[in-house]
Amino acid sequence: MLEIRGLTKRYGPVTALDGATFAARPGRLLGFLGPNGAGKTTTMRCVFGLATPDEGEVRWDGRPIDATTRLRFGYMPEQRGLYPRMRVAEQLVYFGRQHGMPARDARLRAGAWLERFGLTDRAKSKLEDLSHGNQQRVQLATALVHDPVLLVLDEPFSGLDPLGVATMAEVVRERAAAGVGVVFSSHQLDLVEEVCEDVVIISRGRVVAAGAIDELKSASGRRHLDVEIAGAGSSWPADAAGAAILGRSGDAVRLLVDETVDLGELLASARAAGEVRRFSYGPPKLSELFMEAVEAGA
């Protein structure tokens, strides 16, 4: 298990991290969220020793992390980068060996990942000759080649086409299923909601929300009610007691209601107004929780 404990990092007058604390459990996908400049990249850099925290520490399986432990981690930085003129397969073998793999294993694993990503025929190409999407795949393979016990991916989905997003999601899910801890940052909150089990939301260097997405959602007192009544226009609800109108579009209306609201009564009132085409009740979306948490933390 990866534990981030009270990390604080200042760059001159700027406080990038301000006592950030959270944990990433093995076999779970953790979405690491936060506005730009919240401290996501700095946290990841602290995990890999690329930044030294002023206070706090990073622990792995209960012990402070060191260079040997880090060799078993895989990292995909936000600023992608590999050797442009190096051949793809040699590049993967090189990084595998730098993680302590014997040459033979490194070659086998590099070959296996290239096959997985459909890049076997490009193994001998120079990286710069590959398309952008394929370069991204090689970058992911670089983080995976040594079969890491923890994957830390900074914005892995940014710049990918839908096909690339699907492959990426499939691979991280599969790794998590194999017991690997996966931490990734993203601004695509719908995607995170779909892929992840856990989230950590960070704002201004502090963790403002953390936990399983389902739990966070049910812990939130807010519920959304989406109702669409044919031909009702803006006439329904006539009496919005206990509900706030979040927005309207044609015959559809979105309400913010309290957990304790009487749904039966609301449905009856809707049916009285016309033909009910949609009546959906549920917790807020992750993106709404995110906005709420970030605003509350500000």
Partner: protein
């Protein structure tokens, strides 16, 4: 154990990636070609220069001239024979380089006589004259003419100076050609952002060391090929007589090339991390290239003039100048063995210190985006 592997992996990558590059192989071929051409072409064009010019002094024995001609033929050499009236005239002609040697043999062949030369004797000329005189005096003891060198070369002979200077120039060019590879290599890794991936497993110091080591191996390979080609070509074309100090000088040169390269390229690599684009790299490395040029000029001008002077002795122990000054003084035979040993010790210590300091600057600077960074900020940024 693990660290050695890491450094070696980095070095190996540099050797494989750059050593296979067309530019490296072409530059290797090109320099060898230039060197060989430099020796072989003049020998082909100026074939006449190999004609040996011998003057016979006073009354030469009858039959000496035909004997010389016959022996020259056996040696497959061109011999041009003239006559001078006396020894004085022979000395004048030798000093003017009008002839390569003057042979004085008594007309009655009572002795083997004397072969006069100016600075050093041509081995073929010595062989021809010796063979001819011994053949003429068949029956007497087989002794060749005695040799007399009118103006024997002194210790600080020009050949030694030329050799020393050529060595220093070669070294200076080599260090900075390959030092620039380290410099641009560092900037390219920073620019392509691959450095963040590498540094998540490799320590900055090991990365810098591996880079210097790998590129150093390529540099030494080129130097060795160059020196070997030069010596072979000079021997084959017979245009240059190597001084007896050649082997020692070559060893000194290689040793100091390695030390100088390690020192200068580490400094250049660390400073290169301050730049964010390749075109800034040369500016960033300016302090190193400038001081190296300064010390290079100091060594060429002052140390050559006074190789045992106070300045030369001081420069021997400064890491910035030692790689140029020590081999220069050694080639001129003006350095004590203890000075060489002490200077190497100072140099090795300086290189190790520089790896620590350079790695710190490197670590502080290499992950920073934005424009060019100040040395002081980089130093503070790490830790």
């Amino acid at each position: 154990m693990r660290r050695t592997t890491v450094v070696w992996l980095v070095a190996r990558r540099e050797i494989l990636e750059r050593g296979r590059s067309r530019s490296y192989l072409l530059s290797l071929l090109f320099t060898v070609f230039l060197l060989v051409a430099g020796f072989v072409l003049p020998a082909l064009v100026m074939g006449d220069a190999s004609t040996l010019r011998l003057a016979l002094v006073g009354d030469a024995p009858a039959g000496l001239q035909p004997a010389l001609a016959a022996t020259a033929k056996a040696y497959d050499a061109k011999l041009e024979i003239s006559a001078v009236p006396d020894r004085r005239a022979a000395e004048v002609a030798l000093a003017a380089k009008a002839i390569d040697g003057a042979l004085q043999v008594p007309a009655d062949l009572s002795s083997a006589g004397t072969l006069l030369v100016q600075q050093r004797v041509d081995a073929t000329l010595q062989g021809i004259t010796g063979g001819a005189v011994i053949a003429l005096r068949a029956g007497s003891t087989a002794v060749p003419p005695a040799m007399e060198v009118l103006d024997p070369p002194r210790d600080s002979d020009t050949t030694a100076i030329i050799f020393a200077n050529a060595g220093i120039i070669l070294m200076f060019i080599g260090i900075f050609t390959y030092g620039t590879w380290v410099l641009t290599g560092v900037v390219e890794e920073k620019q392509s952002r691959v450095v963040e991936v590498i540094l998540s497993t490799v320590r900055p110091r090991d990365l810098l060391m591996g880079k210097v080591l790998g590129i150093g191996v390529l540099a030494i390979a080129q130097l060795v090929v160059l020196v070997a080609a030069g010596i072979t070509a000079s021997q084959l074309s017979g245009r240059l007589v190597l001084p007896p100090t050649t082997l020692g000088a070559v060893i000194q040169l290689l040793t100091w090339f390695i030390l100088g390269f390690a020192f200068y390229s580490t400094a250049m690599g660390a400073l290169g991390a301050l730049a964010s684009r390749p075109d800034e790299a040369n500016n960033a490395a300016m302090p190193v290239t400038m001081s190296a040029t300064l010390f290079y000029i100091l060594s060429i001008v002052f140390v050559t003039q006074e190789p045992s002077g106070v300045l030369a002795r001081v420069l021997t122990f400064l890491p910035l100048s030692a790689p140029m000054v020590v081999p220069l003084r050694a080639a001129l035979g003006a350095i004590e063995p203890w000075e060489v040993v002490a200077s190497i010790a100072v140099m090795v210590a300086a290189i190790l210190l520089l790896f620590e300091a350079g790695a710190r600057v490197y670590a502080g600077a290499v992950l920073q985006g934005g424009g060019r960074m100040k040395l002081r900020d980089a130093w503070r940024a790490s830790r």
